[in-house]
C-alpha cells in the first residue's frame, strides 16, 4: 500500500501524482477516488495535469480522454487503456495499491 496524501488535502476536482515507477495519478472526481497510470498511453504527458470532467480525464497535450473507472481511452489519439489501481482511505489517509502488470485493463 502506497500512502498518497490526506483525503482532506485532495478536494473534489483535484489530482495528485505519486512518483512510483511508473508514476500513478490519483483523482478525486465527483466524490470518488480513482487511481490510474499517470502517463498518457499516447505519448508522454502526465494525466495528473489533465482536465477532469465527470469520470473522464482529458490529456493536457493532445486531448485524448480516459475513463477513470476503467482506464479505457475514450477518444483519439490514445488507443490503449491506462491501468487502474485500487484506492482506499484509512484514518483520513489515501492509499493506492500498485496493480501488478497482469492486472491491466486491456
Amino acid at each position: 500500500m502506497i500512502p498518497v496524501c490526506r483525503l482532506a488535502d485532495l478536494p473534489t476536482g483535484e489530482s495528485v501524482r505519486i512518483d512510483t515507477a511508473p508514476p500513478i495519478a490519483v483523482f478525486h472526481a465527483e466524490g470518488q477516488l480513482y487511481a490510474i497510470d499517470d502517463t498518457c498511453t499516447h505519448q508522454d504527458a502526465s494525466l495528473a495535469d489533465g482536465w477532469l470532467e465527470g469520470c473522464l480525464v482529458e490529456c493536457p497535450l493532445h486531448a485524448a480522454a480516459f475513463d477513470l473507472r476503467t482506464g479505457a481511452a475514450t477518444c483519439l489519439p490514445a488507443r490503449r487503456a491506462v491501468r487502474t489501481h485500487p484506492v482506499t482511505v484509512e484514518d483520513g489517509m489515501i492509499y493506492v495499491q500498485h496493480a501488478a502488470e497482469e492486472g491491466t485493463a486491456a
Binding site: 505519448q43 495535469d49 482536465w51 482529458e58 493536457p60 497535450l61 486531448a63 483519439l76 488507443r79
Partner: protein, 389 residues
C-alpha cells in the same frame, strides 16, 4: 459517393480516412502516399526519436487492427503527380491513374532548402527517413552541429543534439527567433533556453553557403553572410516549409501558399477537400498537429454532404518540447497584443501568460504549466466560438 481517394498518407490523411468511415462512408477508399511507411507521427522525430528515447515502431498512428477496420486500399511508395478534376482522375507516378468520385488532398508540406546540392552531413527534418539519417550522423560520437533556423523545429533539434552531448550552435537570420509566433517578450524568454543548456544562439545573420570537402563531399562548416565560418560536421536546416501543391498545378484548383479552401476545408470543387499543412483554410494555413486532425473531421463531413455544412473554427493550438520545457500556445495572437504573466515566473522557466488586446485575452502561452494552460485554453475556446459549428 462511391469512391474516395486520400492523397497523402500521414496525419491529416489518416484522420480524414477515419472520419469518412466513422461517418458511414462504405465505398472504395484508396490512400496514396509517396513514403513507404504507414502513417506515423512526426512531432517525436525532432524529440524522442532523435534522442533515442523512442523507436520508429512506436510512432505508428494506427495499429494493425485499426488498419484492418479502415478497409482501405493503400498505395504506398506511390506519388500522385496530377489531378484531372474534370475527369475525376488522380494521376500516379509510373503512368497509372486512379478514377474517383471524391478527393481528400492531404499532401502536407516539405522543408525549404538552402540553394544548391546538400553535402553529406547536411540535413532537413520532415520524414522518418530524414530523422533516421540525422540520428545516424549523431550517434558516431560528439560532433559540432550547426542548426540553421531558430524556429520550433530548429530549437527542438538543437535541444535534442545538446542532450546527446554535441556542441550546438543555432543560427537565426532574424534579430530574435519565434517573434512572429510569440512576440518579443515571450520570444526572448524562449530563446534564453538555448543559453541555459550551453547552446550558442547567433542571431541577425543569414547563411551564405555550406562548406564541404573530401571524396564523400562531407560538410565541414557553415559560412555566414557576415563572413564568419562555423566549423561543423553536421548541419540541420530548419527554415520553414512549403505546402506540397506542385502536383496540383494545372488542376484548376486555387493554389497560393496552399490549396485554398473555405472554412469547411472545401475547395471550389465540392468533391475535393484539403486538410492539414497543405490546406489554406479560410485564408489561414496552419502547420500544427491539432489543426490537421480537427480539419480532417470537418472535411470528411462536408465531402460526404457534397457541400460545406460545417466549418472548422477551433482555436489554434500547438506545443513544443525543448530542453525539458514543454511550451504550449493557443489562440490567435496579433502583433501588439500584450503578454501578462498570470502565474509562475520566466526565471523558473515555468509560467502561464496570456496575451491581451483591449482587455480581451487573445492567446495563452505556458512553459511547463500544462494544467492551468488547459483551463485557459478551454476558456479561450469557449469565448471564441459561442455559436454552434
Amino acid at each position: 459517393m462511391k469512391s474516395v481517394a486520400v492523397i497523402g498518407a500521414s496525419l491529416a490523411g489518416l484522420y480524414a480516412a477515419r472520419a469518412l468511415r466513422a461517418e458511414g462512408f462504405d465505398g472504395r477508399l484508396v490512400i496514396v502516399g509517396d513514403e513507404s511507411h504507414r502513417p506515423y507521427d512526426r512531432p517525436p522525430l525532432s524529440k524522442d526519436l532523435l534522442t533515442g528515447t523512442t523507436s520508429p515502431d512506436r510512432l505508428a498512428l494506427a495499429d494493425a487492427e485499426e488498419i484492418a477496420e479502415l478497409d482501405a486500399e493503400w498505395l504506398l511508395g506511390t506519388e500522385a503527380t496530377g489531378l484531372d478534376t474534370g475527369g475525376r482522375t488522380v494521376l500516379l507516378d509510373g503512368g497509372r491513374t486512379l478514377a474517383t468520385d471524391g478527393v481528400v488532398i492531404a499532401t502536407g508540406a516539405a522543408p525549404r532548402r538552402l540553394p544548391g546540392p546538400a553535402p553529406a552531413g547536411a540535413h532537413t527534418l520532415r520524414t522518418l527517413d530524414d530523422a533516421q539519417a540525422l540520428r545516424a550522423d549523431l550517434t558516431r560520437g560528439p560532433v559540432r552541429v550547426v542548426v540553421i533556423g531558430g524556429g520550433f523545429i530548429g530549437a527542438e533539434v538543437a535541444s535534442s543534439c545538446a542532450t546527446l552531448g554535441h556542441h550546438v550552435t543555432v543560427v537565426e537570420a532574424a534579430p530574435l527567433p519565434l517573434v512572429p509566433q510569440l512576440g518579443d517578450t515571450m520570444a526572448t524568454i524562449c530563446a534564453a533556453l538555448h543559453a541555459d543548456h550551453g547552446v550558442t544562439l547567433l542571431t541577425g545573420t543569414g547563411v551564405a553557403r555550406l562548406h564541404s570537402e573530401g571524396a564523400g563531399n562531407r560538410v565541414t562548416g557553415v559560412e555566414l553572410a557576415d563572413g564568419r565560418l562555423l566549423p561543423a560536421e553536421v548541419v540541420v536546416t530548419g527554415i520553414g516549409v512549403r505546402p506540397r501543391t506542385a502536383w496540383l498545378e494545372g488542376s484548376g484548383l486555387p493554389l497560393d501558399d496552399g490549396v485554398r479552401c473555405d472554412a469547411g476545408c472545401v475547395t471550389p470543387l465540392p468533391q475535393v477537400v484539403a486538410v492539414g499543412d497543405v490546406a489554406r483554410v479560410d485564408g489561414i494555413r496552419a502547420e500544427h498537429w491539432t489543426s490537421a486532425t480537427e480539419q480532417a473531421a470537418t472535411a470528411a463531413h462536408n465531402l460526404l454532404a457534397g457541400r460545406t455544412v460545417t466549418t472548422h473554427r477551433s482555436l489554434p493550438y500547438f506545443w513544443s518540447d525543448q530542453y525539458g520545457v514543454r511550451i504550449q500556445f493557443a489562440g490567435r495572437r496579433l502583433p501588439g497584443d500584450t503578454p501578462r504573466i498570470l502565474e509562475g515566473s520566466p526565471d523558473d522557466r515555468s509560467f502561464l501568460a496570456c496575451y491581451e488586446r483591449e482587455g480581451r485575452t487573445t492567446a495563452v502561452l505556458a512553459l511547463n504549466r500544462p494544467r492551468p494552460f488547459m483551463g485557459q485554453r478551454r476558456a479561450l475556446a469557449r469565448a471564441a466560438q459561442p455559436a454552434t459549428t
